[in-house]
């Protein structure tokens, strides 16, 4: 193990809420969600001297209003970090928090940082997707993308078109599995450890958000089959086999192995490699395939070396396009063993770190697994992948 290895020290998130007026965070500011996640993260890592944090990178897709004003700086100040700690905002749509992690990881590997905070927030109730966006008319005029490329649901329908064998029934079954796996993980107590409770304001007084709001454990195949297909008449993508619209924030501490050791911080994962890649925006959901191939190649690993997959479930079919590509069964137990975004929710730019903290927990329980990946698709045709090594594995740090 080298001193400039990059490690995932710890990660937390707020419970994820349902976006909109009936959601638990309707009257809670987006930046406050991020602040509470960060405060909770710092409180449970008391040995970290705050002034030693070299960077705070916070992602959001819609960087206006309470998600504007350079989140990394404002969230750090509001959470009580010393003014000497810098920060910035970052955006790669759904892969925002993932990019925050890889960006600070790059800085650590280069030696510019010892310790950094990376996370993301998206309050989709206050910032509906695409609100106030002003796409350049050239995209359409020059047919750079089809009209469908700007509507994520339609891009998912297009994956069904391209891979007819990835049927609606398979997508629904995967979605049902996500709900059931999440419910089982919750019952087993795997989810709660990394949730930071959030005091929520409402017309009925203060409450405390302690659990995810979106999961539907009562889901059945029959119920899924009967849902509308809002993106296309007689289509295949439904609210049941896609992630929802959600509010939430995530935060993580990323450090050099040397700094983690110096301050007595935990090492929950070691970053092995990462990769981002672009694909045809019309089928953006397939993005994790080339990004994963890139990351595997950089790491000198093959897909068979990966023991756990935390894949963001933007859409069931989009996950299936990934597993199908790599010859992994739809119900392979290595994939999203505790369920995914279809059950938990997907507050866009926050989700990357949610994948990581979940993988880190699984590593603890699975010393037999040496490598895992977190991967996700990104709007306008991108994918992102990070490969992690499990410190609990007997060959940890012994070279690949």
């Amino acid at each position: 193990m080298a001193d400039d290895d990059v490690v995932f020290v710890d990660g937390v998130r707020t419970p994820f809420g349902r976006a909109g007026e009936k959601g638990m965070y309707w009257q809670t500011r987006a930046d406050d969600l991020a602040v509470k996640a960060l405060t909770g993260l710092l409180e449970r890592n008391p040995s970290l001297p705050l002034e030693r944090i070299d960077e705070v990178a916070v992602a959001a897709t819609t960087q206006t209003g309470d998600q504007g004003l350079t989140l990394g700086r404002t969230v750090g100040m509001l959470a009580g970090l010393p003014v000497s700690v810098p920060g910035y905002a970052i955006d790669r749509m759904c892969a925002g928090a993932m990019t925050a992690v890889t960006a600070v990881a790059g800085g650590i590997a280069f030696g510019a940082y010892d310790i950094a905070v990376a996370g993301g927030v998206e309050h989709m109730g206050r910032h509906p997707m695409g609100l106030d966006a002003d796409p350049n008319p050239r995209f359409v005029a020059e047919k750079l993308v089809s009209m469908d490329a700007l509507n994520m649901g339609k891009t998912a329908e297009r994956i069904h078109d391209r891979f007819p064998h990835l049927t609606k029934e398979r997508a629904d079954r995967f979605a049902l599995g996500s709900q059931q796996k999440y419910a089982a993980a919750l019952a087993a107590g795997h989810i709660q450890h990394d949730l930071i409770p959030v005091a929520t304001q409402s017309a009925a007084g203060w409450g405390l958000a302690t659990a995810d709001e979106a999961p539907r454990p009562e889901t059945t195949m029959e119920g899924l089959a009967g849902l509308k297909t809002p993106f296309r008449d007689h289509g295949r993508v439904t609210a049941g086999n896609a992630s929802g619209l959600n509010d939430g924030a995530t935060m993580s501490i990323i450090a050099s192995a040397a700094a983690a050791k110096e301050h007595g911080l935990t090492t929950k994962m070691r970053m092995v490699s990462f990769g981002f890649a672009g694909v045809d925006p019309d089928i953006m959901g397939i993005g994790p395939v080339p990004s994963t191939e890139k990351a595997l190649k950089k790491a000198g690993l093959s897909i068979e070396d990966i023991g756990l997959f935390e894949l963001n479930e933007a859409f069931a079919v989009q996950v299936l396009s990934f597993t199908d590509h790599f010859g992994i069964a739809d119900d392979d137990p290595r994939v999203n063993p505790w369920g995914g975004a279809i059950a938990i929710g997907h507050p866009l730019a926050s989700s990357g770190v949610r994948l990581m903290l979940q993988l880190a927990r699984q590593f603890e329980q699975r010393p037999d697994v040496r490598f895992g990946i977190t991967a996700m698709c990104v709007g306008l045709g991108q994918g992102g992948t990070v490969i992690w090594e499990n410190p609990h594995h007997k060959r940890y740090g012994k070279g690949i």
Partner: protein, 712 residues
């Protein structure tokens, strides 16, 4: 039975109350326990703090009863109360005290508070109050009644200001607090702080033991809930200041005695509330809640319908509301920008002005005098004051350098060229003031405003030699300039609206309260004080004893007796003020040759080595006796009191008839802010109404209806 049914008179009374609602939500704690969280929220934004009126308390009481029942049934493991963002509660709703129809209804108010807040005590499950923001008076007492308290480190203030307003902390505060934090600390919170108009910061509340734990604002409620969970799980809460037997038996009576003596020395015995509070605190020694609450009920039942409390609320409203929207002010939009200030004079007063204008307006300030040496000395003195502020940490080094760079001095009046506000602080003599303005005016733009700080001269005459007298305004500060909150803004017949508006804006920017007066001798404060001091000197010249004169004025509850006041303003100044007023109104104001002689000799009070007043200097008595005219008539203290009351009522009625200010309220505001006259007098006119002086003098009252509590 609903709580309101237990209080039929309050339930039947009509109040215009902004009701603070009690919302309840169940919260799951990490341990798996359930906590019923009550949020106090009046549904308004941050400009309207939550307050506690009868309807609010009825609702809170019913809510607490319901949660206690759930606690008893094992449905919830704890009950907690917190507030809407930034506020727990700003205390009892005082806006309706004037609507209390009778004494019996008033007497229900303390009992209602005890009934409702008391539900947080000895409940079936532990109770918590999370002080998330401002908690004053009854707001803090919600917390004191609960078993445990946390406080946000960002709460702007925590206090029990009741005695300042003529009440006692009577919803449990005066009884519970000393038993929670000890006698000396409780006296500081309940008696000393209100007197000094001080509040506690959250760290103070924690240190005093009022709060058991303090958390940062970023996750205050989350942290408080986690802490509460810990307490429910058996974590020990340390209460190091809870008084022990020794404190109760030995320290308690001594502390009370000292507090009583200190209070008498500071404010006399007229104000009732602090002494009633001391009585309740004394009783609290026995730690008998029922007896303490009964004493609180009795105290408030007497005080709430009392004249002093009603006058205090009147005064509080003047200071809070009327002072911020001065009567007779022109449209604020007419105010001209002030980007550079010129001060004529380089004496002590000029330096005080310079420092104040620098700090508050943060614009270049030029001082001028005839003598370069005096100018240089003044600039050095001002920079020294700025450095001292930085040394004390009151301003940053950046601010220190910014302010130091803004001050300059000159002997060349041409350097006033860019000034759009010029104020003089030169010798109080008409010719001198006329001359300095005449010298400066040619260098000023036509729109620059000229202000005079005269206290006794005619502003109009000061401007007689100006080319543009419409830009002249009186701007009368009170000493010490940095501390006293009042400025009398004097409008002459020539003063135009833009000038007046500018003066009002400058006063506001200086963080002072301005009252607009006509250009009449002494304006308001000095004229009223001249009446009082003239009567005092006249009485002793006539053969009344100094002690009788002091006794005669004691009934009012003035902050100091007339001779201490004369000593404070300076005997020469005092004699001059009396001369001026006698000159203007020879049949109503006394001049005093005795005072002139006292001033020349510098003799009046006898003081000890520390400067404490011990009485009247014997030589002063002899000097005054020398000036006794033939046929002098010495009045008794009682006769003197009536004479002073009637004299004040007469003079103030004349001032109002002469439109010196818009209304009696403005006279009261001036006396409260400019002379520190107490809230319990309502300034002065409510007092004159209630002692019958107004009726004796002009057969009416200054206020309709009079500012007084219900007699029935």
């Amino acid at each position: 039975m609903a709580i309101r049914d237990e209080f039929p008179r309050l339930a039947a009374a009509e109040f215009d109350e902004v009701v603070t609602h009690s919302h309840v939500r169940d919260v799951q704690l990490a341990s798996g326990r359930t906590l019923a969280l009550i949020t106090l929220d009046n549904g308004r934004d941050h400009t309207r703090p939550s307050t506690l009126g009868p309807a609010t308390l009825f609702e809170l009481g019913d809510t607490l009863e319901a949660q206690r029942a759930r606690g008893a049934a094992g449905e919830v493991d704890a009950i907690a109360v917190t507030g809407k963002p930034y506020f727990l509660a700003a205390g009892a709703d005082l806006s309706n005290v004037g609507s209390l129809p009778d004494r019996e209804t008033a007497a229900e108010l303390p009992r209602l508070g005890h009934r409702v807040l008391g539900l947080l005590h000895e409940a079936p499950v532990p109770t918590f109050v999370f002080i998330n923001g401002l908690a004053l008076g009854g707001g803090l007492e919600i917390g004191l009644n609960a078993d445990y308290r946390t406080i946000s480190s960002a709460a702007p203030a925590v206090a029990l200001p009741e005695t300042f307003l003529g009440l006692v902390p009577g919803w449990g505060g005066a009884t519970i607090l000393p038993n929670l934090i000890g006698i000396e600390r409780a006296l500081k919170v309940i008696i000393e702080n209100p007197l000094k108009q001080r509040v506690l910061k959250p760290a103070d509340a924690l240190e005093l033991g009022i709060a058991d734990a303090m958390f940062g604002p970023a996750s205050f409620l989350e942290s408080s809930l986690r802490w509460a969970d810990g307490v429910l799980g058996g974590a020990k809460v340390d209460r190091p200041h809870v008084p022990g037997t020794l404190e109760r038996t030995v320290k308690w009576p001594i502390a009370l005695k000292i507090a009583r003596e200190t209070l008498e020395k500071r404010i006399g015995k007229v104000a009732l509330a602090p002494y009633r509070a001391l009585d309740v605190i004394e009783l609290a020694r026995k730690n008998d809640r029922a007896a303490g609450f009964a004493a609180e009920d009795a105290a408030l039942a007497d005080l709430i319908p009392g004249d002093q409390f009603v006058a205090s609320i009147y005064a509080f409203d003047l200071v809070q509301k009327r002072a911020k929207r001065p009567a007779g002010a022109p449209d604020a939009a007419l105010a001209k920008p002030v980007t550079k200030v010129g001060i004529i004079g380089a004496g002590l007063m000029a330096s005080q002005f310079a420092l104040l204008f620098l700090r508050r307006l943060q614009v270049p300030v030029v001082i001028t005098d005839l003598d370069q040496g005096r100018v240089d000395a003044a600039v050095a003195r001002i920079r020294g004051e700025i450095d001292a502020l930085a040394g004390k940490g009151r301003i940053t080094t950046d601010e220190q350098q910014r302010l130091s760079a803004l001050i300059s001095g000159t002997v060349d009046k041409a350097d006033f060229a860019g000034c759009d506000w010029v104020i003089e602080a030169v010798f109080e003599e008409l010719g001198v003031k006329q001359q300095v303005f005449a010298e400066v005016e040619p260098h000023l733009s036509e729109t620059a405003v000229i202000a005079t700080n005269t206290s006794s001269l005619s502003v109009e005459q000061i401007g007689a030699r100006l080319a543009h007298p419409e830009r002249l305004v009186g701007f009368h500060f009170f000493n010490p300039v940095a501390v006293m909150p009042l400025i009398e803004v004097v409008r002459t017949p020539a003063t135009d609206d833009a000038t007046l508006a500018t003066a009002m804006r400058v006063a506001k920017d200086l963080k002072k309260n301005a009252v607009i007066t006509r250009d009449t001798p002494g304006f308001v404060v000095n004229r009223v004080l001249a009446k009082l001091l003239g009567e005092a000197m006249h009485a002793v010249e006539q053969g009344s004893s100094f002690e009788d004169v002091v006794e005669a004025q004691r009934a009012f509850g003035f902050p100091m007796d007339p001779f201490v006041l004369l000593d404070l303003v300076g005997l020469k100044v005092g004699a001059h003020v009396l001369d001026t007023h006698h000159g203007a109104f020879p049949d109503r104001f006394f001049e005093s040759q005795a005072l002139h002689e006292l001033a020349e000799q510098g003799i009046l009070l006898e003081k000890d080595g520390k400067g404490e007043v011990k009485g009247i200097d014997k030589r002063a008595r002899r000097i005054v006796a020398k000036h006794r005219p033939a046929g002098a008539v010495a009045l008794s203290a009682d006769e003197l009191r009536v004479r002073i009351e009637d004299g004040l009522a007469d003079e103030i009625k004349r001032m109002l008839d002469d439109h010196v200010v818009e209304a009696a309220e403005d006279i009261d505001l001036c006396m409260i802010l400019g002379a520190g006259w107490p809230f319990q007098m309502g300034g002065i006119t409510p007092y004159l109404d209630r002692v019958g002086a107004s009726g004796r003098v002009f057969g009416g009252t200054f206020h309709q209806p009079p500012i007084a509590g219900p007699k029935a």
